[in-house]
Symmetry: D2
Amino acid sequence: MRIGFIGLGKMGSGMARNLLAAGHEVTVWNRSPDKARALEPNGARVAFTPAEACAGAEAVITMLADDEAVHGVVFWANGIADSLARGAIHISCSTISTELARLLAAEHATRGHGYLSVPVFGRPEAAANAKLLVVAAGQKEIIDYCQPLFNAIGRQTIVAGPEPWQANLVKICGNFTIASVIETLSEAFAAIKKSGVNPEVFLGAMNELYNSPVYKGYGQAVMTPGTEPGGFALRLGLKDVRLMLKAADECSAPMPMASVIRDNMLSGVANGQGEFDWSSLALVAARNAGIKA
Amino acid sequence: MRIGFIGLGKMGSGMARNLLAAGHEVTVWNRSPDKARALEPNGARVAFTPAEACAGAEAVITMLADDEAVHGVVFWANGIADSLARGAIHISCSTISTELARLLAAEHATRGHGYLSVPVFGRPEAAANAKLLVVAAGQKEIIDYCQPLFNAIGRQTIVAGPEPWQANLVKICGNFTIASVIETLSEAFAAIKKSGVNPEVFLGAMNELYNSPVYKGYGQAVMTPGTEPGGFALRLGLKDVRLMLKAADECSAPMPMASVIRDNMLSGVANGQGEFDWSSLALVAARNAGIKA
Amino acid sequence: MRIGFIGLGKMGSGMARNLLAAGHEVTVWNRSPDKARALEPNGARVAFTPAEACAGAEAVITMLADDEAVHGVVFWANGIADSLARGAIHISCSTISTELARLLAAEHATRGHGYLSVPVFGRPEAAANAKLLVVAAGQKEIIDYCQPLFNAIGRQTIVAGPEPWQANLVKICGNFTIASVIETLSEAFAAIKKSGVNPEVFLGAMNELYNSPVYKGYGQAVMTPGTEPGGFALRLGLKDVRLMLKAADECSAPMPMASVIRDNMLSGVANGQGEFDWSSLALVAARNAGIKA
Amino acid sequence: MRIGFIGLGKMGSGMARNLLAAGHEVTVWNRSPDKARALEPNGARVAFTPAEACAGAEAVITMLADDEAVHGVVFWANGIADSLARGAIHISCSTISTELARLLAAEHATRGHGYLSVPVFGRPEAAANAKLLVVAAGQKEIIDYCQPLFNAIGRQTIVAGPEPWQANLVKICGNFTIASVIETLSEAFAAIKKSGVNPEVFLGAMNELYNSPVYKGYGQAVMTPGTEPGGFALRLGLKDVRLMLKAADECSAPMPMASVIRDNMLSGVANGQGEFDWSSLALVAARNAGIKA
């Protein structure tokens, strides 16, 4: 397929590479163009505007940081809304609000575009290795048509329902559960360390108990939280928990655990951890327990 | 080995059966004697008092509901403290406070007894199938000596440290993490259901994301919470979260997630769910979201 | 002064009456016109649009439910933005977000209007009796010029600073503290009642301890929460706590008490209490404690 | 009356002085005897043991830090339990658990003693000036008999009920509400300061809104939190919130605000603030908001 790919951060670069590797024709655009040019050796064509990435594309994929970025790239001058051909499809892989997903579905429909919300689970390594868990929602025919693209980037596709926002809600809830794992382990490790129990023992018990890649990865990260920028930034994790609280507010469902996580992430950001990996939430629990860095 | 086994609830019965199956001589005692007699066909001898279960035993295992029960069975008349032979070992498998574990270690030491804290992870099915995750702490020599017993009841033994209470803290922290999974999924399912997303889709995504037996079991239970007494009672889950908060308080480590869980479990108990499985925490989240049963 | 007054709910009606009583010429507009006509006997002129209320006015006062209502009445067709004379002043008394206050200040400035944020503390009785606590922010000269209006509606004026949004933040924080009083007393009364202590005794102790009109009013209301629509609706209280969390999020200040209140208010709304007075938050605490209505 | 007075901390010293000033015969005991001897110029006799303070006394008053201290002074060797004359009365003014109050009532009854729980509201200044708010519970006849003592130390006596623990619950709930005021203001001031609003303006608005001595005192203290040991220590405030959560747990009433306060107080203690006044809770909110000291 001929596709446009917009947004070449840690996640998007890996996804675009895998689409190229699977034989698709990919025109890429990124706000800072060096990340776009980095894909030329893989066969990507580089566009100067989102509109150029849409020209001639059967589908355009967006993989951007937040609602604001997606909204801009769709609706601003030289954006997707005015450039995508009738009958072409916008596949939004970003973790965005259910509200924006509804707006995109409606606006694309009036322009004769297809629209799918297709958020993905997985960190940059999974994106690089085509091991993402893909959650797709929208019209079944469009999902079926795009399935080869999902196959190129992920290990499995889950269909969340006929309304695009449904995939976003599943993704937002899923990220909330991961944030909860991080906060929960952060609190447990603080108690373990202050009590004088070997944290490696607790980590081993957790891995034996859960036997889960999520706990394996985050257990280690939370036990020895880094302060290097990298991975999935805490400020983006905070953005996702905000999306959770917003979606829950819209349907009047209280989520006290999400509130605790939000408050502690905010404390992390207030204390300079915004660009650290979100496992640095452990530093907030440690600080509150009086553990010196 | 010749052992006494005290406490034949859902967990203890399975453990005692597996010890018998492994060829150990087991004398059992339970407050309500019918559960003790139920093990006679498996070769158990039935004691009329804890003291009788200790008579001639190299080790006595306790598997009881809470601190109060363990304290009673050890220190009351005809209890373990006055009945166990010098050089014999008390293996406490119950989920008890670190404070009681320290008391037991000290009191047994003055009587010439060995003492191990050996809490276990796993639900009744795992106890029945000798698949428990065993966490042992205490003197290394005593742990080594008792290893055949742990092999008979569990799939693996993790050594938490030389102080018995260290195993209790690992167990308490571990149970806290499971309670957190239950509460987190409860909140997420409430939002998913109220928003009109198919909860089976979310469950599928969670299982694919975590690929963990804990999420498989509790994901299903939380999605369709039962109101039948059974499994691991909510009031016992509440007891464990109280132990977590107490241990964390002792070392001045705030655990806001544990506080949320405690408050919601308390709400469950206040609303008549004390004997339901602790996955019925989902009913609290549902009630708070105005979801009718 | 010649003034327009837009928004004649429980608060606005009393404020407009007091402005009329103080001798000001007041043209009123309300979405449902019957509330506007009800002020004709007091000397008000009734406008058919917000624009008409602005015609010839030195100042226009808005007292509306939320950001959306204020935004609409300012920026939609026949709105304030396009109708107010150069040099005239918009006085926004509604409890709105600091973000909207900043937008209004900027937009009015470009049109040559003055703009003040002048939120008020007090319930409808205080509005009716000109006993409001007025918090004003904006250019000092404009505040001084409008002081007679504030004198007509309130018992005292506090100047919050030179930036209009500063008054909104003071108001939002103030309402948060009242919400906290309500939630705190709700929890305390639940424990008092369930324990079997006479709640009147506790109420008496609180009144003696605080000797404050806020505690007197809300203490009684929380002890015997009503289920009649009236007073200050819970859904509006929830709106204000959302504004608090939003303002705190913008400056990265975690507010865990506000989070708890938000979650419980959401539970109240989810359980059909949206139109009850916000003291009905007590019903959420009672429900969570298993107290039957 | 001839009375014994045990516990001469910041509160007890003032209370004992006022009893002496009112003409009662007071024999005092304190763990560190210098504080006892400091009352000799006021006419106090100094006892060497609690038993001596009970000798010949119609009533003995205890004003101690916590459950442990009261329990020890009553039940240990030379304690009140074995020394108080039949028919004499133990008046417990300490903030203790409802559980200990029930134990004291039962144990004193078996010895033919009267027992009242008479906790007091007020800080050391109020104790010094006989302005305490006295909450008394127990048999009406005994309360009436002791009324002259309460008149000597307080401005008003509230009778909480016929069971002594009822006064303790009222006191515990009351202290919880004060802790909530402190935490609420701490969060609000953090947002106010980070946003760039003059905190004095917010303090002024609060005082105008609440017009309450509690807000006047704590508003100022929270706005400019001190780090000097003094006032009512944070570790004692934490003790009281623990008593609240314990009492609420016993009757299955969740108190999420109390949980937040407990967690933040614990963070304060973990960060070295245990001996600071409990208004230093504001430092926790400030730290979490990234405000530098």
